[in-house]
Every structure is written in structure tokens, then in C-alpha cells.
């Protein structure tokens, strides 16, 4: 079986063609870099996405500070992570790169600040 998908690893958006034997990836074509190959393989076995959102922050210039996960997290756990992130409140000052939530829900990804506030 062949599946087509758009690679989201970068803004190029290569059209990938994935040849499958059952659940096993036989080959990936259409990618212009090795990240496309990796993307197609994880997309079949365990789709993951980077999560970016904001965390409440008291005492800063803005009432929220932007954050991201240091690793992509399983796609089907995004809303679970959002719930925890939205229950979190931090105190200013916060610096770019500061870890605000360690190893969120056991995903190995940390939630870090992406701006100063």
C-alpha cells in the first residue's frame, strides 16, 4: 500500500510517498532531505508534533509568556499537555530557555520559555 502525505518538518512541505507492507514502512520517496524520511516513518508509527502555547506569568510585562516543548510530543497527548500547561502559573522574571515544566506528563519533553518576561 502507498500513502501520500505532506512533510511538515520545514516550510518546504515536500509531498511524500510512503510504501507500506502492513504497518512497516518499506520506502519513502519525494523527500528532499533526511528529515522527510524520518518524518514519514514516525508519522506512520507514532505521529508527534511540537507544542507551542503560553503559560500564565505574574509580574511581567505581559500576563503570559510563550513556551514550547523541547521535543515533539505524541499528537494524541496534545490536549492533555495543554490542560496541565494552562493550570500552571509562573512568576516573572522568566528568561528565554528557562524550563517551566519538567518532563511534561512523562513525555521526556520539557516546557521552556521562548521569550523573556
Amino acid at each position: 500500500m502507498t500513502k501520500t502525505m505532506t512533510c511538515v518538518a520545514c516550510p518546504l512541505g515536500c509531498q511524500l510517498s510512503v510504501t507500506l507492507d502492513g504497518d512497516t514502512v518499506v520506502s519513502v520517496t519525494g523527500n528532499t532531505c533526511k528529515r522527510g524520511d524520518a518524518y514519514a516513518r514516525t508519522e506512520i508509527s507514532n505521529p508527534v508534533r511540537s507544542l507551542t502555547t503560553t503559560v500564565r506569568c505574574e509580574g511581567g510585562l505581559h500576563p503570559v509568556v510563550p513556551v514550547k516543548t523541547t521535543l515533539p510530543i505524541p499528537k494524541d497527548r496534545m490536549f492533555e499537555c495543554m490542560k496541565l500547561i494552562n493550570e500552571t502559573v509562573v512568576q516573572a522574571p522568566v528568561e528565554v530557555g528557562q524550563v517551566l515544566i519538567h518532563n511534561i506528563l512523562g513525555t521526556d519533553a520539557h516546557v521552556i520559555a521562548t521569550n523573556n518576561n
Binding site: G13, T52, T54, V64, P66, K68, T114
Partner: protein
């Protein structure tokens, strides 16, 4: 009157990169004037990732991308003023600005870089019938509410326009618990990056209705719903296809307009397609010593390209200030041939000693087409492209050895061949 070698108007990615490059070329006396309360420009509210893959070779969020340049501006001790609004620039490069601490500022510059960015096309620019309740806003305004001010502007959302900001906001609102009912797009294709359709809409099962627009808004006080309709190939709504969609928020992502009031006041020649200045390969306008770069020049899809363009303008301005400008310039206006909507730069100095990279956009989607560069009737390059789309900027290089063979009466043409 204050005196500076270089005044940069706008402290977003374009302004910062231009100022930094001018500093690299030895210009000491630089000031950046920024309207917002911090440097960084629109990147400050673009908290999603996808920035910097070309320039830094890693995927950053908007604020992280901006932070790298802010840090360099600080390290290089480049002077800047925030909360400062430039109200006028004259032909002889006198910049007038206002802020709360200095009051009225007048600065005589040797060179000026225009880096004011762009703004969103507002609701008033669309002729949507119906009432004028609250709950109708541009996607960028909603993005500021959510990402900087920390509050949600609505619960049941319809988005008109599938540009990248609209797509990004569809995901953002969904993650924060809102219900994004649909994204409507007037054109038969999306104006956004394909990856954003995948990761912002498909991932969350948000439908994208192409060739569809909003023809009326309903509700008093707060928006209660919109009427959508399919459009024909002339983009006119088709009678009988109207559908009522209940919602409390309509977000508009219907295009960006370079913010060129200052540019036009100077009397700089404008390009009617880009809505930005006409520039040469150093991004210098038709007024010597006044340069433009970034989204004020033409709307970019990637900030990485903004940075690269701003560096060219920064170098151009530095060379101008240092008196290193090529003496005998001979300009040739490029021809945007079949399928090409516009090129930047629009004109090229054929006496330029360096090859010139020309950026351009196509007018519609092409599959398996060729981008052909013809100089003086000879095909210089013909590049195969699997896909060309209006949302994705392309480029072609005019080699310096080809430029050297041209005269002002020759034609340089970029076109798409199917």
C-alpha cells in the same frame, strides 16, 4: 536637530538585521526607531515554531528568532528607541518622530532604511454585508490577544482567509479550547504553506472550504453567525449556495498590506503589485540613500528571507554612507513574464559586479513547470519545479558574467513555462 549616519525605521526582524549589517560594514552612528514597546516586531506574537530553518539551521519560535537579533543589537550597542512613532521622513532624509520621553524628535540622517513591516487588511476593506457587532477581528489581532495579552477572544470561530496567520490561529484557538468550525477561502487554493494546512487544520479535523466566502454577518452587540456562499470562477457568490453558520467570532486573514505611508509621503516610486517601493539590487529606492527591506517592501512568507533581504539593504546603506557606491549605474527594469506576478528587485544595475538574486512570486499554482530566465533573448537558466505556488516565494540568480554582457536596451525576463 540630531544627526545620525543611519536611521532605521522599524525594530522588527528587517530593521534589526539591516542595522546589524550596516554596523558590520563599519557604520557606528545608527539608531533604530520602533513603534511598539519592545524590539522584535510581529515575531513577538508569533509564538509557533518554524522560524530560522534557513538562516539558523534550526527551528525556532518567533520570539526566539527575534531574541537572537535583539541580543546582537544590545551587544553591538546599537542605539534604539521603543514606543517611538516616526511621523515623517523628508526627501533630504530628515526623520521626525515622537515619543513620551523626548517629545518631538528631528533627526538628520545620511541614509534611511525603511523597515516598517506590514499590517493586515481590515474588515472595512472587504464588502461584507450585515450588522457590525463585536467579535469580528483580524487573525493577527486575535493572535495578539491570545499570545501577548493572555485572553481568548471567542469560543465558536469562523476564519475567513487561509493565509498562514489564519491557519496558525485555527490551531492556536483549538488548542486553547475554542471550536474552530471552518476556514473559508475565496480562492480555489490556500494562500498558506501546505505544512500549515496539514498541522493546523488536518491535525484537528478543521474543514477548509475553498472557493467560499463570507457574504454577511449577523448579530447585535455580539456576532451570532455568518452567511457563507460558494463563489464562481469570477469570485462572485453563487446564488442558492448560501449557508448560515452560527459563531461568536469571525477572524479575517485576508491579506497583508505593506505599511508605506512614510514611503509614499517621500514621493518614492511604488510597485502597484507589491504595494512596496520599487528598488534596485541593493534594495535602494528611486531616492538615493533611502532603502527598504522586509515586509514593507513586499510580503514575505519566511522571516529568514526578510533577514537576508535586510542584510542586503544594510550593506547598501553602509556603502552609500561610506561613498563606496558604484559610480556608473545603468539600470534595467526586469520583465515579469508569463506567470510571474512580481519581482524584487524590480530594477538591476547591469554594471553590478556581483550576481543578483531575484525573488519573485507566481500568479497561480503550477505543477511540473519550468522557471526560465532570459537575458537579451538568450535563455540563461531553465529550472524544473515540481510545484510553484503563489504562497511560496521563488528566486532566480542573474549571474554577473551575464549582466556584464547586457546593455540598457536589453530585456531581462523571468517567466514560467508549462
Amino acid at each position: 536637530m540630531l544627526n545620525y549616519d543611519l536611521v532605521v525605521i522599524g525594530g522588527g526582524p528587517a530593521g534589526m538585521a539591516a542595522a546589524l549589517r550596516a554596523r558590520d560594514f563599519g557604520i557606528r552612528d545608527i539608531i533604530i526607531l520602533e513603534r511598539a514597546e519592545t524590539l522584535g516586531g510581529i515575531l513577538e506574537q508569533c509564538i509557533h515554531t518554524g522560524f530560522g530553518l534557513h538562516y539558523f539551521g534550526e527551528e525556532l519560535s518567533g520570539p526566539e528568532y527575534a531574541a537572537r537579533f535583539i541580543e546582537l543589537v544590545e551587544d553591538q550597542k546599537i542605539e534604539y528607541k521603543v514606543d517611538t512613532m516616526v511621523t515623517d521622513v523628508t526627501e533630504d532624509k530628515v526623520v521626525t518622530a515622537v515619543n513620551k520621553t523626548d517629545g518631538l524628535l528631528k533627526i538628520q540622517a545620511k541614509a534611511v532604511i525603511l523597515a516598517m513591516g506590514c499590517r493586515e487588511r481590515p474588515r472595512g476593506a472587504l464588502s461584507i454585508a450585515g450588522t457590525r457587532p463585536s467579535g469580528i477581528m483580524t487573525a493577527g489581532t486575535a493572535q495578539k490577544y491570545v499570545n501577548l495579552d493572555g485572553y481568548m477572544p471567542g469560543k465558536e470561530i469562523v476564519i475567513l482567509g487561509s493565509g498562514d496567520i489564519g491557519l496558525i490561529m485555527a490551531r492556536r484557538m483549538t488548542l486553547e479550547g475554542a471550536h474552530v468550525k471552518m476556514v473559508c477561502e475565496l480562492m480555489p487554493y490556500s494562500g498558506g504553506l501546505t505544512r500549515n494546512i496539514v498541522q493546523c487544520l488536518d491535525d484537528f479535523g478543521i474543514p477548509l472550504h475553498l472557493s467560499t466566502t463570507v457574504i454577511a454577518t449577523h448579530g447585535n452587540g455580539r456576532l451570532e453567525g455568518v452567511t457563507i456562499a460558494k463563489v464562481d470562477d469570477k469570485l462572485n457568490p453563487i446564488p442558492g449556495t448560501e449557508e448560515y453558520v452560527a459563531c461568536d467570532t469571525l477572524m479575517l486573514s485576508v491579506g497583508l498590506i505593506p505599511e508605506n505611508e512614510l514611503t509614499k509621503n517621500i514621493g518614492i516610486g511604488m510597485d502597484r503589485i507589491t504595494n512596496g517601493a520599487v528598488v534596485n539590487e541593493m534594495r535602494e529606492t528611486d531616492h538615493e540613500g533611502i532603502f527598504a527591506c522586509g515586509n514593507v517592501l513586499h510580503v514575505h512568507d519566511l522571516v529568514d528571507y526578510v533577514t537576508l533581504e535586510a542584510q542586503i539593504a544594510g550593506e547598501g546603506a553602509a556603502r552609500y554612507i561610506l561613498g563606496q557606491k558604484a559610480a556608473a549605474a545603468e539600470y534595467l527594469t526586469l520583465t515579469a513574464g508569463n506567470g510571474v506576478r512580481y519581482t524584487v528587485p524590480q530594477r538591476v544595475n547591469i554594471r553590478s559586479e556581483e550576481s543578483v538574486k531575484v525573488y519573485f512570486r507566481v500568479g497561480r499554482i503550477y505543477k511540473n513547470a519550468k522557471v526560465v530566465l532570459t537575458c537579451a533573448g538568450k535563455v540563461v537558466s531553465s529550472k524544473k519545479k515540481v510545484k510553484l505556488a503563489p504562497g511560496e516565494m521563488e528566486n532566480v540568480i542573474i549571474p554577473n558574467e551575464v549582466l556584464a554582457t547586457l546593455t540598457v536596451n536589453d530585456e531581462i525576463k523571468i517567466e514560467v513555462e508549462e
